[in-house]
């Protein structure tokens, strides 16, 4: 693996719930000052907190460059609504939207809706994969130049450039086309945590960014290789996927008790890999993992966002920039550009032009 692949960094801005925008806005601006690729905001129907996609929409006009990636759960929300809301986040942020697809496995969540009972993770992840699939089809269902405003014929759109998706999933079907025109990035960025077995297939088939929870670069590389193999089997170019190590960080006792080495005794907070130490140690760790080629970067979850994100940006990121390992400015405007991902063409446009050529 080459050591000079660009490093990608992202951070979670959740923490204890806040119901005003100011808290989230301050953190997103801080992340933007550190030229992070994106911020995430976790969500679940069963734990206190506001709707994450709403929060990131609220702060979109007040930020300029940082990518905005809310968790969106697929188990109880209609796939058509998921697709419309994420596309709209891309419109209001002018091309900075992504979504972290998650499932809701608990009976408590099922009871909030009263429509279906809890199901095993495997079935829910299969459905999540189908939701990601139909969302992408809906984003493609308007070709980029479908709006023609042709005064000669009186046509606002060229309906030949709009497409029914006619998707039949195992638990739902969608006719299409989207009600939202194709978003600025073509397709907003899809993020999936691919660590668990049930999520690997959907990650390999549909994710642009795959999060991996691992305690050594070797473990991370093993998951990455497996996802890449599966992606290739689905006809995707594995180079189109970005792999980020997911790490919960506690930079609280930076000066006194550094505990840098994940390898030398990782601690687990919930299901996340956990790092406790100083900003400099964190920079070392990021550098080491990235040099090893195991991952393209890190998704950091600060344990105390207001304190730790400040230390990440002013300490860890500043050092990585000083060492020329991380960029000092955003070279582009969209999240895809930050991640070095191309803007996909609509599959329907490709099919149509191929048909015309034949």
């Amino acid at each position: 693996m080459t050591a000079n692949r660009p490093l990608h960094l992202a951070a979670e801005i959740g923490g204890p719930p806040h119901y005003d925008a100011g808290h989230y806005l301050a953190l997103a601006r801080l992340a933007e000052r550190g030229t992070l690729d994106f911020v995430t905001l976790g969500d679940s129907f069963a734990r206190p907190g506001p709707d994450a996609l709403a929060v990131l929409s609220r702060i979109a006009p007040a930020t300029d460059r940082v990518g905005l990636v809310p968790t969106v759960t697929t188990t109880h929300t209609e796939p058509f609504h998921v697709s419309s809301a994420v596309a709209t986040l891309d419109w209001v942020s002018r091309g900075r939207a992504g979504w972290n697809a998650e499932v809701s496995t608990t009976e408590a969540e099922a009871r909030l809706f009263g429509r279906r009972s809890a199901a095993p993770a495997a079935a829910l992840w299969q459905e999540a994969g189908e939701t990601a699939d139909v969302a992408a089809r809906l984003w493609d269902s308007w070709e980029d130049d479908a709006e023609i405003r042709d005064t000669a014929t009186g046509r606002f759109i060229d309906r030949d450039r709009l497409h029914y998706v006619d998707f039949e999933g195992s638990t739902f079907s969608v006719r299409g086309p989207a009600i939202v025109p194709r978003p600025p990035q073509g397709r907003p960025v899809t993020v999936i945590d691919g660590t668990g077995t049930p999520a690997r297939e959907p990650a390999a088939r549909h994710a642009d960014v795959v999060h991996i929870r691992a305690t050594t670069p070797e473990q991370a590389a093993a998951v990455r290789d497996d996802v890449r193999r599966r992606a290739a089997a689905h006809g995707r170019d594995p180079a189109d996927l970005r792999f980020l190590a997911a790490l919960t960080v506690d930079l609280g006792d930076a000066e006194t008790t550094p505990e840098p080495g994940l390898e030398s005794g990782p601690r687990f907070a919930g299901r996340d890999s956990y790092f406790r130490g100083g900003p400099v140690d964190l920079a070392e760790l990021i550098t080491r993992w990235h040099r090893s080629g195991a991952v393209d970067g890190f998704h950091l979850t600060p344990i105390t966002p207001a304190r730790d994100l400040e230390r990440i940006v002013n300490g860890t990121v500043a050092l990585l920039q000083h060492r020329s390992l991380f960029r000092t400015f955003y070279p582009g405007g969209t999240l895809r550009e930050h991640l070095g991902l191309t803007r996909p063409a609509s599959r329907y446009a490709l099919a149509r032009t191929a048909g015309e050529g034949a």
């Binding site: 506001p50 979109a60 006009p61 709209t88 969540e109 709009l162 086309p177 939202v180």
Partner: protein, 426 residues
């Protein structure tokens, strides 16, 4: 008087071919119209919804504006660029679930510091249902029973946190919903987001009388407006509500000019742009329920009667009995000697207030004083600049006469409406 701004969405109000017409999708358009409305001290900004693209004769309708972003997401973004303006989203009660929508609405109310509103619509057709798990499962008769239970359930969720921030479990077991658990969002600044109802049937009016804070109506003539107003306000008492608890706001268009004559000329020009020859035939087909593409828009109306239960038009509510509509159109056409296109221009215009700024201000005031409306939802014909003139030229006159506020006195939408926050029912 209350005023709201409707972002001109998917229909032929928008004159998209006008050189001043910009994007219907870019956030900058929403921001422009919302900032203008706030500059004019409007009560709220309104977004409509359609969950499937309209079809005509089995094909996607391509003459009018098509496509729009999802409402609640846009309104959350607008909360960042406005301070006082109410933010109203149309969201269908049939294709959503109470827990999720109550949470999204409470979130908007928090993130906007108390400016959220929900326009509860009830379209239940199987055509729209093809985009959803639900499919077209709901009988027409059940639309409002589900909507009413939906709103009641949402209110139970919003009341499940005490005003001092304590969360209590909720449980609702009704005909349409069986939900229980804990709501994740504390009581929002307005207690409950403002509820708007749009829909004209007896069931719709009854639902509004029991549950809504605002009715969005199409009754735009003075006579029809007074009748509707009296009917709806009379229904409130049996729910223990006062007339001021439900504001009646028709959706109306307006055309300004320096003089009344100039405004009339502008209006004729706009109607001509809205009803192109192609759009005239289309409107005719929507009533007649069959393909009339062979007809000459500048010729007479068809001699035969409409097909009553046609599905030629999908995704748009058919208003009124087609036979009655056709009879009315024929009468207009014969009395005035009008062609198809002229007849459509004549009969399909929603109430327009047309004139100099002074005339329009006087007309609006006469309407509210005559008991035909509590205010208006203004639908401009240009995006995004279509409200600029109204705010710059009409609003100051309404303010001078004391008919409309000169400053916001509160910060929440309920305070603009002069309505108290709902009492907490723990």
């Amino acid at each position: 008087m209350h005023l709201a701004a409707h972002f001109p969405g998917v229909n032929n109000t928008t004159v998209w071919a006008d050189a001043r017409s910009e994007s219907q999708i870019d956030f900058s358009s929403f921001e422009h119209l919302a900032r203008t409305a706030e500059r004019g001290k409007f009560d709220f900004f309104f977004l409509a919804e359609g969950l499937r693209l309209r079809e005509h004769n089995g094909r996607i309708h391509d003459l009018d504006v098509v496509g729009r972003p999802e409402s609640l997401t846009v309104l959350n973004a607008l909360a960042a660029v406005t301070d006082r303006l109410g933010l109203a989203a149309t969201v269908n009660a049939t294709f959503n679930e109470p827990y999720e929508l109550a949470r999204r609405l409470a979130t908007l109310d928090h993130l906007s510091d108390g400016r959220a509103a929900w326009n509860v619509v009830t379209s239940s057709d199987a055509f729209t249902g093809e985009n959803f798990r639900r499919g077209g499962y709901l009988d027409r008769a059940d639309r409002y029973t589900r909507a009413a239970e939906f709103v009641a359930t949402a209110r139970e969720l919003w009341d499940s946190w005490t005003p001092d921030g304590e969360s209590r479990p909720f449980a609702h077991h009704g005909r349409h919903f069986a939900v229980s658990g804990e709501f994740t969002v504390p009581r929002s600044p307005q207690g409950h987001p403002v509820v708007i109802q749009a829909g004209d049937s007896d069931e719709g009016r009854e639902f509004a009388a029991g549950a809504a804070d605002i009715i969005f109506t199409r009754h735009g003539t003075l006579e029809a407006g007074r009748e509707f107003y009296a009917d709806v306000k009379a229904r409130l008492a049996k729910y223990g509500r006062r007339p001021a608890d439900l504001k009646i706001m028709p959706g109306v268009t307006f055309v300004l000019g320096d003089t009344d004559e100039e405004a009339q000329e502008n209006a004729a020009e706009i109607r001509h742009q809205q009803i192109s020859p192609q759009n005239a035939l289309l409107a005719l087909e929507q009533v007649w329920g069959r393909d009339l593409s062979g007809y000459d828009p500048d010729g007479p109306l068809p001699a035969s009667d409409p097909v009553p239960d046609s599905d030629l038009v999908q995704g748009r509510v058919r208003h009124g009995d087609p036979l009655a509509v056709a009879a009315r159109w024929r009468a207009v056409s014969e009395a005035k000697g009008l062609s198809i296109r002229q007849t459509v221009i004549e009969t399909t215009g929603r109430q327009s207030f047309i004139g100099s700024p002074r005339t329009v201000a006087a007309q609006l005031t006469a309407f509210t004083e005559a008991g035909a409306a509590d205010g208006f939802i203004l639908v401009p014909h240009l995006t995004p600049g279509g409200l600029d003139d109204f705010v710059d030229r009409v609003v100051p006159l309404l303010q001078e006469s004391g008919t409309f506020r000169s400053e916001y006195t509160g910060s929440t939408l309920r305070s603009h409406l002069g309505q108290a926050d709902p009492v907490w029912k723990g």
